[in-house]
């Protein structure tokens, strides 16, 4: 079945509206992982925030690479290598378009969001941070947007400042504005919180930081897969995200950076591909984007991401965002009806993530029983321990919804939660 035939009723879709015109049942069928049973029951996959699933087209594309195209990219003179390079570089063009970057060389391939942030922290930080300089983060950061900054702070003598959040899970923006000062050298915040779902007011953050010539990095791991993210419109300086959270394979990600900033930054990993000339006395660097891409990359995975982007484009990010919002509303409404369920994070603007606790049942206990019922959720601190410390809880159960989920999945989750309550009651 060709993807294009079933995905969208082309005649009715209007890209500029959020009216749902997609055949979501047909969409769901294109994800083979979802068609299985776990512990004897049809799988309900609600761990999309950790890793989303791949459509058949991406899986087929990766298979094709392995069965017919495998070789090494760049510099190869033979046909397979040149073809592979073309396909691999094609993804860069697709990413550029997907996030509306100004230049192709602003799209840097990395191994994921974590790697992207480490790149900026080490490369930009080592060049520009000095003792007493300040890096502003927020209380709701994923560890991937805390630890790399702690490491560079230790190396340079810079210090971290933290934007606190309210109990609803919203950034205290007054505090943010007060934190900005002449010492601030970087603002690095999460676009959409993985633990709470909060969509942060990043436009306001960027505007305020830029008024003082401070660059902004956004951790977009949970934002890019679920909405239209436009680099030029945001005017953000650095933006990090991962392939595996946007229906792509694992081990691949993107760092978007403004060209003028990236050009001035030194490479942070050395090796093949990133060089211009090497002698034992001195090495000169390759141009952007390759300066930051040392070594043989995960080629199959990079090509796979290109196919995933085609897939997302085919449905349309506006459609995806609207559908996920619909599912979030339904899930919030249904979970709120269950006595003793406490939703953690109730920001006015939320992406399709629901973190919750069931009475005083430990999240791992709840997750273990839900798994027995064929329901995959994430439990624990979601690599955001400061968030858990804020609420003084050991962790949460997190259901993160994707466009291929449906109301039935949410009904199964509700049934599952009721069963958990009964089980531990």
């Amino acid at each position: 079945m060709a993807t294009t035939e079933v995905l969208v009723m082309e005649d009715t879709i209007k890209k500029d509206t959020t009216r749902l015109t997609t055949d979501w049942q047909a969409v769901r069928k294109q994800f083979p992982v979802l068609q299985q049973k776990v512990h004897g029951q049809p799988l309900v996959y609600l761990d999309n925030g950790a890793s989303s699933q791949m459509p058949q087209s991406t899986i087929d594309r990766i298979n094709r690479y392995h069965s017919a195209e495998h070789s090494n990219v760049h510099r190869g003179i033979h046909t397979l290598s040149q073809r592979g390079t073309d396909y691999y570089e094609e993804t860069r063009k697709k990413v550029k378009k997907f996030i509306n970057a100004r230049h192709l060389e602003e799209v840097i391939y990395t191994t994921g969001t974590t790697d992207s942030i480490n790149l900026v922290a080490q490369s930009y930080g080592r060049k520009y941070f000095r003792e007493g300089d300040e890096i502003i983060l927020s209380e709701m950061e994923h560890h991937a947007n805390i630890v790399p900054w702690q490491m560079i702070a230790e190396q340079t003598g810079a210090v971290l400042r933290v934007i606190p959040m309210t109990d609803n899970g919203e950034l205290k923006m007054d505090d943010f504005h007060h934190l900005l000062s002449d010492r601030t050298k970087m603002v690095a915040v999460v676009h959409v919180s993985n633990a709470l779902g909060t969509i942060n007011p990043v436009e306001e953050i960027i505007e305020a930081a830029h008024a003082r010539d401070i660059p902004v990095l956004l951790d977009g791991a949970q934002a890019v897969p679920h909405s239209v993210v436009d680099m030029q419109k945001l005017d953000v300086d650095f933006y990090a995200f991962s392939a595996h959270k946007m229906c792509g394979p694992t081990g691949f990600g993107i760092l978007y950076g403004k060209k003028e900033l990236l050009q001035e930054m030194p490479p942070y990993r050395g090796g093949g591909d990133m060089i211009d000339k090497v002698t034992f006395e001195k090495t000169t660097w390759n141009d952007l984007p390759h300066k930051f891409e040392a070594g043989t990359p995960p080629i199959a995975v990079g090509i796979g991401l290109g196919t995933s982007l085609d897939y997302l484009n085919e449905i349309g990010m506006e459609q995806i965002e609207a559908r996920e919002h619909e599912l979030l509303d339904y899930a919030t409404q249904e979970l709120s009806k269950i006595e003793d369920v406490r939703i953690i994070g109730s920001s006015a603007k939320k992406a399709s993530v629901i973190s919750f606790l069931i009475g005083d049942i430990h999240p791992t206990d709840a997750g273990t029983i839900l798994d027995q019922k064929g329901i995959a959720v994430r439990t624990g601190h979601h690599c955001a321990q400061p968030v858990m410390q804020h609420y003084n809880i050991p962790g949460t159960v997190r259901a993160s919804l994707s466009f291929y989920n449906n109301e039935e999945d949410i009904d199964r989750l509700v049934e599952g939660i009721k069963y958990v309550k009964e089980f531990f009651g």
Binding site: H39, I361, H362, P363, T364, D365, T368, I369, Q372, T379, G380, H381, P394, G395, F423, F424
Partner: protein, 142 residues
């Protein structure tokens, strides 16, 4: 009772439990019946590093036999912890060091002991053996 007899005893106990809810409920019951660890022992030094639920473990040795004491903040983990405490307690360090809790496989809980599982149980067994090793060393020095 030898440690081997204990293995068989535990397997037998679980044999009568029909399905997974019964097995898990039994495990939770074992946890709730375990002697509580004094609050003073629930400190970071006694924490077994696990990713999600917390497990505290202490031990002492009387007449050449190791006794373990433990607790967890999650009910299922606590039950599994109670099983391990019961299994390894009352044996000499050599026995503890040379015995693995094979029963966990037979009672259908093998996935919980997987070192990749984020519940700390695998680390707990390792920590129990480290205690046994420490007691053995101490014994040989005295």
């Amino acid at each position: 009772m030898s440690i081997q007899e204990k293995q068989e005893r535990i397997v037998k106990e679980f044999k009568v439990l029909q399905d997974w809810p019964e097995r898990y409920k039994y495990i939770i019951k074992l946890g709730s019946k375990m002697d509580p660890l004094p609050e003073a022992d629930k400190v970071d030094e006694n924490l077994v590093k696990g990713c999600q639920s917390q497990v505290w473990l202490t031990a002492d040795m009387n007449d050449g036999k190791v006794e373990y004491y433990a607790d967890s903040d999650a009910a299922i983990t606590k039950g599994l912890v109670a099983l391990m405490v019961r299994f390894f307690s009352g044996h000499d360090p050599n026995t503890i060091l040379t015995t693995n809790p094979d029963f966990i496989d037979e009672i259908g809980m093998a996935q919980h002991l997987s070192p990749t599982r984020a519940n700390g149980l695998a680390s707990m067994v390792k920590q129990m053996k480290i205690y046994a090793m420490a007691f053995k060393t101490k014994e040989s020095l005295s």
